[in-house]
């Protein structure tokens, strides 16, 4: 008998594809972002159906929540900077329709090829299942995804945090000066809402971090939820970054990377190599790393949203000629 959920799966899959097309073809950029956010949340639902709640959490919080906020912020800036709505949207050199059609046909062919290759690949083929199952007792945590992220493939995860660090350094170097897009006045309702919502978000973020050792959750999801606190603070102007906060911000950005790398180096010795945590302390070390990484992720994501290094206005130097 067919699973009654198949209808749900099919509908969801159709909706996801339709949303992807809609997001790329809708004229209004604001609508594009709204459609994208819905697309992301539906993808997260699809991943839940594929028994990947960790991925669904990360996608919902980071891939969709933070990315959507970043896109909105940029759109807000574009419309403010250009003064009117449509001026900034016209491309410098319009691409000829013929070229676009050729491109689209080319992509269609590629997609077909990929689909054929996918259908030919073994379903539920070989994987790491047995290896992970065998190594889990020595990992120091009970949740396999956390074990992979922070122990088996901790090197990848360290480098992922490095990517985040590189991003915030690059963003600070690209954008300079104070924000020129004025923030709108917030009504009392928003202030009240923020006051109510913030503690709840902090609790949930911390909970996700803590629960990561044995259930879906962990540093990235917790960090992203905590970043939402930063977003709210920045949006409601409850916190305005000041130039003299830069040192602390820098410290928070590098905290996760630094502690992670230091732990990885320091455990080496006595026959162990880097990243090889001693079994007795594995859980403690992993929690330490996760905690620091969570702080870094939360602050970094919020800083990426804010976008610019807080510099005093007089220091603004233009290098362009």
């Amino acid at each position: 008998m067919t699973d009654p959920l198949v209808i749900f799966d099919l509908l969801l899959a159709l909706a996801i594809v339709a949303l992807a097309i809609a997001a790329l073809s809708v004229r209004d950029l604001y609508a594009m972002i709204v459609l994208f956010v819905i697309f992301g949340l539906l993808s997260a639902l699809a991943w839940v159906r594929l028994s990947a709640p960790d991925v669904a959490l990360a996608e919902a919080a980071i891939g969709t929540g933070v990315t959507g906020a970043l896109l909105l912020k940029t759109l807000h800036h574009l419309r403010f900077a250009s003064g009117q709505r449509s001026a900034c949207m016209t491309p410098a050199i319009p691409v000829p329709t013929g070229v676009m059609l050729a491109n689209a046909a080319f992509c269609g062919l590629i997609t077909l090829g990929l689909a054929v290759a996918f259908l030919g690949a073994p379903a539920a083929g070989p994987g790491f299942d047995a290896l992970v199952a065998g190594a889990m007792p020595a990992s120091g945590v009970d949740h396999p995804v956390t074990g992979v992220l922070l122990n088996f493939r901790a090197y990848d995860t360290l480098m992922e945090v490095v990517v985040l660090l590189a991003a915030v350094v690059a963003v600070w170097q690209i954008e300079r000066g104070l924000s020129d897009a004025p923030s709108p006045e917030m009504g009392e309702v928003w202030q009240g809402f923020a006051r109510l919502a913030l503690p709840a978000i902090v609790v949930v973020g911390t909970y996700l971090l803590w629960v990561g050792a044995e259930a879906p959750g962990g540093a990235f999801q917790g960090g992203a939820v905590l970043a939402a606190v930063g977003l709210l603070l920045l949006l409601t102007r409850a916190y305005v970054p000041q130039p003299h906060h830069r040192g602390i911000a820098r410290g928070a950005f590098v905290l996760g990377t630094g502690v992670f790398a230091l732990v990885a180096l320091l455990v080496a010795g006595g026959g162990r190599v880097a990243f090889e945590y001693p079994l007795d302390h594995a859980k403690t070390l992993i929690l330490l790393i996760e905690g620091m990484v969570t702080i870094s992720i939360a602050v970094t994501l919020a800083a990426l949203f804010h976008g610019r290094e807080p510099v005093a206005l007089r220091k603004e130097v233009r290098h362009d000629t």
């Binding site: 790329l24 028994s51 991925v55 990360a58 590629i110 299942d129 396999p144 362009d320």
Partner: protein, 96 residues
């Protein structure tokens, strides 16, 4: 029809749609979004590869990889958007 088949085809379709957008989209913001769609498509492929018929639990390694991919992608998006914002500021100053 199992979920992995359905969502695998979905993922490849999303990747292809993102590809079309990345090559054809004219607004800068839309191109960033198209790239994000590509990354979601790639995520689908990995999550589908990890799926096992219940009651078996899925392979956790691809899940970890996709989480890494999501964080990497948000970093890249943030940099691209910062470039777009800065460029827009400079261009608007020149017009004024």
């Amino acid at each position: 029809m199992t979920p992995d088949l359905i969502y695998g085809v979905t993922g490849i379709a999303v990747f292809g749609i993102g590809l079309v957008g990345a090559l054809c989209a004219q607004e800068r913001l839309r191109r960033v979004l198209a790239l994000k769609l590509c990354s979601v498509g790639a995520g689908f492929l990995l999550v589908v590869g990890a799926w096992r018929e219940p009651p078996d639990t899925p392979d956790p390694v691809p899940h970890a990889l996709v989480i890494t991919g999501i964080v990497v992608m948000v970093s890249a998006t943030a940099v691209a958007l910062a470039l777009i914002r800065r460029l827009q500021t400079l261009e608007a100053e020149d017009d004024a």
